[in-house]
């Protein structure tokens, strides 16, 4: 009677370790930025302008990754920029997921008129060009953290709604749903207790992906100067400033770019890693 199928132990994925490690590191750095940042990220000193990173000659102690043309410390600005990037990722990602996944789940599981209303709404919503829409929105709301978050939610909730709806439709056709009804579970109870655990892996994968996308959107909006005011450092803002002086001081552009890249990559890999580790059903 005993076979080995239940004994297969899954290796703790390298993917999960690397992506989770980088994001944990970044989160700690963001939380403790005031303690660990070597310099004031806003302090300008024209005598310290365009200092190269520590391994090159002509550096000053305490400016590990160099300074920009105004003499602001690149490392400290990256650390403070992580605060904003992570807040946007977390808040915008979670809100987008909650709104989109809830509507998608209801539409896909209940079908009928809730589905007709929600699906129609999603179709109309997607007819707007999203980037134009968000730029317009920020122009109306004014730049700021809240505007960015709202813009991201408004653009991206439809992605969740569509994917989760399709998933809920296919799960709803399974006999375990009929079986729950035979057992006397309410329709709503079945949605939460039976369907939700089965769409959860998809939700988590989309959520982490969305967090990465939120970081990118925030960077793009900072890049075109539509994000937070210039006195809080953002990665997008740094990239935009670094671009101008890339021939004289490449480090101003390259370090925030690498940080951004690693962060977005980690978010997208985190979802896969979590699935490998925690989803009981291997596919």
């Amino acid at each position: 009677m005993r076979d080995a199928r239940a004994d297969v132990r899954r290796p703790v994925g390298l993917r999960l370790w690397l992506s989770g490690g980088w994001l944990s590191l970044l989160t700690l750095a963001a939380i403790f930025a005031p303690l660990i940042a070597p310099q004031d990220p806003l302090a300008q000193d024209l005598f310290l302008g365009r200092l190269p990173p520590f391994w090159e000659s002509g550096t000053e102690p305490g400016f590990y990754l160099g300074t920009d043309s105004l003499g602001r410390d690149v490392l400290s600005r990256i650390l403070y920029g992580a605060r904003l990037a992570l807040i946007v990722a977390l808040v915008a990602g979670t809100l987008t997921c909650l709104i989109g996944a809830t509507l998608g789940l209801i539409a896909g599981y209940y079908r009928g008129w809730p589905d007709r209303i929600i699906s129609r709404f999603v179709d109309i919503w997607m007819a707007f060009p999203p980037v134009l829409f968000s730029i317009l929105l920020i122009a109306v709301l004014g730049p700021g953290l809240v505007s960015i978050i709202i813009a991201i939610v408004i653009i991206d909730w439809t992605r969740f709604a569509r994917v989760i709806r399709a998933e809920a439709i296919s799960q709803g056709a399974m006999d375990y749903v009929a079986s729950a009804q035979v057992a006397g579970r309410t329709k709503f109870g079945t949605m939460l207790a039976e369907i939700l655990p089965n769409v959860l892996p998809t939700i988590v994968a989309l959520l982490t992906l969305e967090m990465g996308i939120a970081v990118i959107i925030e960077a793009i909006l900072s890049f075109v100067n539509l994000s937070i005011s210039t006195d809080s450092p953002t990665w997008g803002g740094m990239i935009s400033e670094g671009r101008i002086s890339v021939h004289q001081a490449w480090w101003v552009l390259v370090f925030p770019l690498i940080t951004l890249f690693l962060t977005v990559l980690s978010f997208s890999q985190l979802g896969e890693g979590l699935k490998d580790r925690f989803d009981p059903v291997l596919r």
Binding site: D3, D175, Y176, S179, V182, T186, A193, N198, V281
Partner: protein, 263 residues
Amino acid sequence: MMYQIRDLHLSLPDMTRKPILGHAPQMNILKGLSFDIPKGAVLGIVGGSGSGKSTLGRAMVRLLEPTAGQIMFDGKDISHASEDELRPLRKRFQMIFQDPMSSLNPRRRVGGIIAGPLRLHGVDVSGKVDEALEMVGLPRHFATRYPHELSGGQRQRVGIARAIALRPDFILADEIVSGLDVSSQAQVLNLLEELVRDLGLTLAFISHDLSVIRRLCSRVIVLRNGEIVEATETVKLFDTPQADYTKELLQAIPLPDPGQTWT
């Protein structure tokens, strides 16, 4: 009487012929079925593919609502009862599904799957899961497994364990052995026979395979295109089949010796 079914009609919208605008035409799937299932009986329901067996079964456990006619369960008319009215009755009739891969939630452990209906009806779960596993011949430690970690026959046993855990009066079994190989088929059928005897169950057993019905059932109804073409005792069905369709079905049973006949 466990079940009294009178002139049962059921139609579903035929989505394949739905015009772009307007409603899909109704397709009559069950066309006036009447039969009884006495308490303690084992009724076989046979018929070819698409004859409406599953639809009838799903109507009996009220996963589907009949378009017309009556379904009486233990004297109560449940034909149009709402889900709220049905809930107290639900623990008295259960269903075992054809495909356990689909009917067992893949992200729940076996223990949770069996305990689910018990918890819903406020039954004290302690010990019941072990007991149900034991009754279907699975070791206790299977409670912590996921469905995909079991073999096909073991999965079907979990489906049976879930159905009997509530100690229902009636169980509907829809083609529960057709996905299994011959030896697991025999095991599952033995198990079902035992359970019917020990628990005093009333059983409706849907199958397209008459040889399976012959072992298990005391009475048979033969379904074709949503109509009953023959309803009789199993012995009589095999000895003196009346309807031509029944004779066709009988001829389709593979015999060990080509020269041999069933009679």
